[in-house]
């Protein structure tokens, strides 16, 4: 059998991808648009644990807050055989990004519809606004 080197490389790469695909059920990407003038390095004490961060689909009109930035995350499943990403996974990723900004809460959280994307057989997008209370 006559196998060319680049053919062999491609087959090995595909094989490795499929093999490593079994290691994690999801992978994710994120994009944070920082608000001008916000100090993202000052982590407030209430945001030390990610579960402390409030995730809300609405606004918080009864408290004063400053915006730290808008967060955009996408959770993807690794292979077609893994289960679809859920809203809880999106929340978790939003919390992780909110911690990095030193936020107390993520408001106006919204979710996309799970479906096939160019990079995955199952992708779910989520957005939210990271805020810190000022009262």
């Amino acid at each position: 059998m006559n196998i060319r080197t680049d053919e062999m490389r491609t087959i090995i790469a595909v094989g490795l991808f499929l093999l490593l695909g079994g290691c994690g059920s999801t992978w994710s990407t994120s994009n944070v648009k920082n608000n001008e003038g916000s100090e993202s390095s000052s982590v407030s004490t209430s945001a030390i644990f990610s579960q402390e961060i409030i995730i809300l689909e609405s606004d918080i009109p009864d408290r004063k807050y400053k915006i730290l930035g808008d967060i955009d995350v996408t959770v993807n499943k690794t292979t077609i055989f893994h289960s679809d990403p859920t809203r809880e996974m999106v929340d978790k990723k939003l919390r992780q990004e909110a911690i990095k900004l030193g936020a107390d809460a993520v408001i106006f959280v919204r979710y996309g519809v799970v479906g096939i994307s160019l990079m995955s057989w199952g992708s779910q997008n989520g957005k939210g606004r990271a805020i810190v209370f000022s009262d």
Binding site: M1, N2, I3, R4, E7, M8, T10, I11, V14, Q51, I54, I55, L56, E57, S58, D59, I60, P61, D62, R63, K64, Y65, K66, I67, D70, D72, I80, D84, D91, I107, F108, R110, Y111, G112, V113, V114, G115, I116, S117, L118, W121, G122, S123, Q124, N125, G126, K127, G128, R129, I131, S134
Partner: protein, 143 residues
């Protein structure tokens, strides 16, 4: 060409079809855009009553909450419909990309359901905005 060479050719030629397939079979929809800032201490624009339609302007905080709950229920039902079709779409997408391309015609991309979700989301955004204007107490329940 050996068997490995044939496999390589197959993978190479099917890649564009795989991408095309992704576009047809139940694509993901991104989350809707975040609203303008109208609630933070630095917000340059404040809300006014004339921004809301008459029906919405008459609502109390609890009525707005009830409407939001009803919308959420309806949204969940629509999402369930899409979830139900996703398994079928993935199987068809997988088989279609590997063996039989016309199978893509059998996929269901749920355009009507997605449109319904979009309408519900717009209604939810309107109510969230109204609740902000009325300074209704926010839900304290953490997700």
């Amino acid at each position: 060409m050996g068997k490995v060479g044939q496999l390589y050719f197959l993978i190479k030629s099917l890649f564009p079809l795989l991408i095309a397939g992704c576009m047809v079979a139940g694509c993901s929809t991104p989350a809707r855009k975040l609203p303008n800032d109208y609630g933070s201490v630095d917000a340059y624009k404040r809300l006014h009553l004339h921004e809301f339609d008459v029906m919405t302007a008459k609502l109390s905080c609890s009525e707005a909450d009830s409407e939001l709950l009803a919308l959420e229920k309806s949204s969940k039902a629509n999402i369930q419909t899409i979830k139900g079709n996703r398994k079928k779409n993935q199987i068809i997408g997988y088989v279609g990309s590997m063996f039989f391309i016309p199978l893509y015609l059998a996929t269901d991309s749920d355009p009507e359901t997605k449109e319904n979700i979009e309408k519900i989301n717009k209604a939810k955004d309107k109510l969230y905005k109204f609740k902000s204007f009325k300074k209704c107490p926010s839900l304290t329940v953490k997700k």
